[in-house]
């Protein structure tokens, strides 16, 4: 199947935002991670078809961009939910019940870690130490920090996540 006549994935705004970063670095390749973030912010993923387009802007081969992208499990090819929620499973949170919270939240939302709710609103993920150990067990949802979570609060948290997605 030819993809040449398909509409480009990167909007002119994204291209502009990416190119505006060039003066900050001595190489265009250094803009790889920022470019992936720019696309990911807008599309909630980095589709495979975006890779050659990013590569063309950065004067790289698509393989180079893909190599970098694939290293960071953070970037997905299929869209995440409107809200991406990371529940910490590392030690300080685990000591205070973090893994139970993750399991309970998954049950409440009917997803396993890594999955998105069928309504496309919430992607639930585990995170490694989020640097919020003073608020363990902690969760980061988009830019929002959920502190001192507990299994008892899971209904409330699930509702807040749904609301955040609206």
């Amino acid at each position: 199947m030819s993809t040449t006549d398909a509409a480009p994935v990167l909007t002119p705004e994204m291209r502009q935002e990416i190119c505006a970063l060039f003066p900050r670095y001595p190489t265009k390749q250094a803009v790889t991670l920022p470019a992936l973030h720019i696309v990911n912010e807008q599309l909630r993923c980095v589709p495979m078809r975006a890779i050659p387009e990013i590569a063309a802007l950065l004067e790289l081969s698509p393989a180079q961009v893909h190599d970098t992208l694939s290293f960071y499990g953070f970037f997905k090819h299929e869209p995440c939910g409107k809200v991406r929620a990371w529940v910490c499973r590392s030690i300080s949170c685990a000591l205070r019940g973090g893994e139970d919270v993750l399991a309970a939240l998954g049950e409440k939302l009917h997803v396993h870690p890594g999955e998105t709710t069928p309504d496309g609103k919430v992607t639930l993920e585990f995170g490694e130490c989020l640097g919020l150990c003073d608020f363990a067990p902690a969760m980061l949802a988009g830019e929002k920090v959920f502190k001192n979570m507990s299994v008892d609060k899971v209904d409330e948290v699930a509702a807040l996540l749904q609301a955040q997605a609206d």
Binding site: T27, L58, A94, C129, D134
Partner: protein
């Protein structure tokens, strides 16, 4: 002991502590004026050297000495990379500095760049710190608007740009050469050293890499002098010990009454930190063990809590070192099997996969621990784990970076210090000691390749 007067956190409780106006009201940017008002780069390096400031990012390398390794008359550009990837489990002190006093960090970076002749600095910030990103970017913008960054800072011939660069949730980007590779737009595979970054770092140019907290100390050293800095902490005990000087942001979390970040002079004991500052082990329980400085550093058993948390202390108690000085408390109810499984799972997930001993060693450790946890452990697994732990890392010389040493240490400390508990767990859960096939569930627990 008189209560310690905070240095790095002196202003964080003030309203709008993150703004330029409040930073200036509290004496901010006096150090940069002093530096640009007549100090040479060499003089700045000398003061920082004399202060004994050691890196706060984990390795404790003397900061001034590192700066002195940068070439003095390099024709091309020199870069600074500020390590704000803070991902060591238990650690959050950089976050507090970036969110609540970003200008203090930036003033330190400006001085560090002046001293090393760097003309651009990249702050490599972990993805999970969105508020830090906004606060630092706002502070940088304020600096450009006030001629504290950009061309000819405060009318001098010194110019500097600072850029934010966001990571993508990978612990290994905190390792300085992993950071450099990541910043260059590549997978974060740490580099074989030498060459060290001071000779060939980012974009193949001389580069200085420093932690956020290290940078935050610098303006105070300039303002108040090396001797003042040395009034805090633990003096050197001989020519081979650089001492542990200055204030430190200790983090406490886990089973503690008052989790938080406490600024204290280097060298407070683990017990004092827990009992006096953290309010003691939570729920009135007894302590069992504590991580002294992020999970990579291993464990201090409760009987070892009188260990001073200076650069030399934890090592004397068999730990890897002071690390990030992030203490995580484990109370008497914690199963060491659970603790070690959690630790091994973390490192298996975060190994960059470049060195076979680390990639295989961390993932097999996790699988063995999952098997023990699931009641299918064998007593010989303990020696198997110790064998793996002894074989992976920079110390045995089998890996490129220190992640593997950090993966090995919790295994060594947990099994050596709590062997009876592991043995009795295995005896109770698998009395026949049968060698069974690895359960499919255990395989499923193995990380799915994401970092």
């Amino acid at each position: 002991m008189p209560d310690f007067e905070p240095v790095l956190t002196a202003n964080i409780h003030k309203p709008d502590s993150h703004t330029l106006a409040v930073y200036r009201q509290n004496g901010g940017y006096a150090a940069i004026k002093k530096v640009l008002g007549g100090m040479t780069a060499v003089e700045v390096v000398e003061v920082v050297k004399a202060s004994g400031l050691r890196g706060r990012g984990g390795a404790g390398f003397p900061c001034g000495l590192k700066w002195s390794f940068l070439p003095k008359d390099h024709p091309g550009p020199i870069y600074m990379c500020v390590n704000a990837d803070e991902s060591e489990p238990g650690t959050f002190n950089n976050r507090i500095l970036m969110e609540l006093d970003p200008h203090q960090v930036i003033e330190g970076i400006i001085i560090g760049c002046f001293a090393t002749r760097a003309r651009a600095a990249y702050i490599y910030l972990r993805y999970e710190y969105p508020l830090s990103l906004r606060r630092l970017q706002a502070a940088i913008d304020e600096c450009y608007a006030s001629n504290l960054l950009g061309k000819n800072i405060l009318g001098s011939d010194f110019s500097l740009d600072i850029y934010m660069h966001r990571g993508a949730a990978a612990y290994i980007c905190g390792e300085e050469t992993g950071l450099i590779e990541s910043l260059e737009g590549k997978r974060a595979w740490p580099r074989i050293k030498p060459p060290f970054p001071a000779i060939e770092g980012v974009f193949r140019k001389p580069t200085v890499v420093n932690n956020i907290e290290t940078m935050a100390c610098v303006p105070h050293i300039i303002n108040r002098g090396a001797d003042w800095f040395k009034t805090m902490g633990v003096p050197s005990t001989g020519p081979r010990d650089p001492g542990s000087y200055g204030p430190k942001l200790y983090c406490i979390s886990g089973h503690i009454e008052r989790p938080g970040c406490y600024e204290l002079p280097l060298g407070i004991t683990c017990r004092e930190l827990i009992d006096r500052h953290g309010g003691g082990v939570w729920k009135g329980r007894k302590g069992k063990a504590a991580i002294p400085g992020g999970i990579s550093m291993g464990l201090l058993a409760e009987s070892e809590w009188d260990t001073p948390l200076d650069f030399a202390g934890p090592g004397k108690a068999g730990c890897l070192g002071l690390g990030t000085a992030a203490v995580v408390v484990l109370d008497e109810t914690v199963s060491m099997v659970d603790f070690l499984h959690n630790s091994c799972r973390f490192f298996a997930h975060e190994s960059c996969g470049q060195c076979t001993p680390c990639r295989e060693g961390t993932s097999w450790s996790e699988r063995i621990l999952a098997r023990i946890k699931a009641g299918q452990g064998r007593l010989k697994d303990l020696d198997l784990l110790l064998g793996i732990a002894g074989a992976i890392g920079i110390m045995p010389g089998t890996t490129i970076c220190g992640l593997a040493d950090g993966a090995a240490w919790p295994i060594k400390n947990a099994i050596n210090k709590f062997r009876d508990e592991f043995e009795s767990y295995i005896r109770q859960t698998n009395p026949s000691g049968a060698d069974r096939q690895e359960p499919a569930e255990a395989l499923e627990l193995v990380g799915l390749g994401a970092h």
